[in-house]
Amino acid sequence: MIDYKKMLGMKGSTFNCVVEPGKIKEYAAAVDDWSDFFWSDDPTIQYAPPTFSHIYRSGKMEAMHMADLTRFVQGEHEIVYHRPLHPGEVISYHLEIVDVVEKEGKTFGPMAQIVLQTILKDSENKPIQTIRQTFVGRR
């Protein structure tokens, strides 16, 4: 049995990335969205799709390295937007496991609900988005 309680307070390392205009288009294509503001070549017009910020978070698995991926799924996802995300920006991710709740599931037995919070900041350290993700893992 995995003791998910040990994950509480774990952090992923903070890292920077650049929002690439081509990646915005690739992502828009993957969600089949052809809205002009995702496909513009003008960086003042183009901005990222609502769920785009999710893609650069390679630090996610670092914070959750204890999880058994064969028994782990995502439940809820909540994003609070402070401002739009434009191409060319240098952004940083700040990840932390902020809550772990153990439960007895009806179908799958002992479960744990893990809440991962990510604050996405710009180069001036101002928040762009606050993301809360809830995962469900079988213990």
Binding site: K25, D33, H77, Y81
Partner: protein
């Protein structure tokens, strides 16, 4: 400059009906909705999305850098909690975002949340839709916030795959 995107074959080996011809997709012009034009309880135009294929899922994996093998490796997925290949939860959230964006004419939301209820699998045809559930006018008459509820329902079984909410600020006129 007009953008075109070459949409490669989106096919699924097990289902000839899912085969689609190669083609070019054209960018769609959006106009931001006005607060005045939003009617409480109004239905958002539905989008029929699918059938989902492994190719769609792999395309999303590549675009999102999410290479959890539960989304593409049949052997791994079979012994996982999902008992088979499933779509990324974020892909379905992305589809719901697209549904809201097409209606609102903007993707600049204030808040967006979803909950995955059942797992989406290759072969699913998702009916994306929703309603306007709240209008919060600014006291000074400059517009306000609108809250939408969204759902992704599997057409064949009627099962709810994912539900969510979007909060957005719109100008009055």
């Amino acid at each position: 400059m007009i953008n075109y995107y070459h949409d490669t074959y989106i096919e699924d080996g097990t289902d000839p009906a899912a085969l689609r011809k190669t083609g070019y997709r054209k960018v769609e012009k959006r106009t931001k909705l006005k607060f005045l034009d939003v009617v409480l309880n109004a239905e958002i135009p539905q989008i029929r999305q699918g059938p989902l294929t492994r190719t769609h899922i792999v395309k999303y994996a590549g675009a999102s850098y999410d290479f959890n093998p539960i989304h593409h490796d049949q052997e791994f997925a079979s012994r996982s909690i999902a008992k088979g290949i499933i779509a990324h939860g974020m892909m379905i959230m992305g589809y719901l975002g697209k549904c809201a964006t097409a209606y609102l004419g903007t993707a600049q939301f204030d808040k967006f949340s979803t909950r995955n209820v059942t797992m989406a699998r290759p072969g699913d045809i998702l009916i994306l839709g929703g309603h306007v559930i709240e209008k919060i006018p600014n006291p000074d008459g400059t517009g306000g916030q609108v809250r939408l509820s969204l759902t992704a329902i599997d057409e064949a079984t009627g099962e709810l795959r994912c539900k969510g909410e979007v909060l957005v600020t719109l100008a009055q006129v």
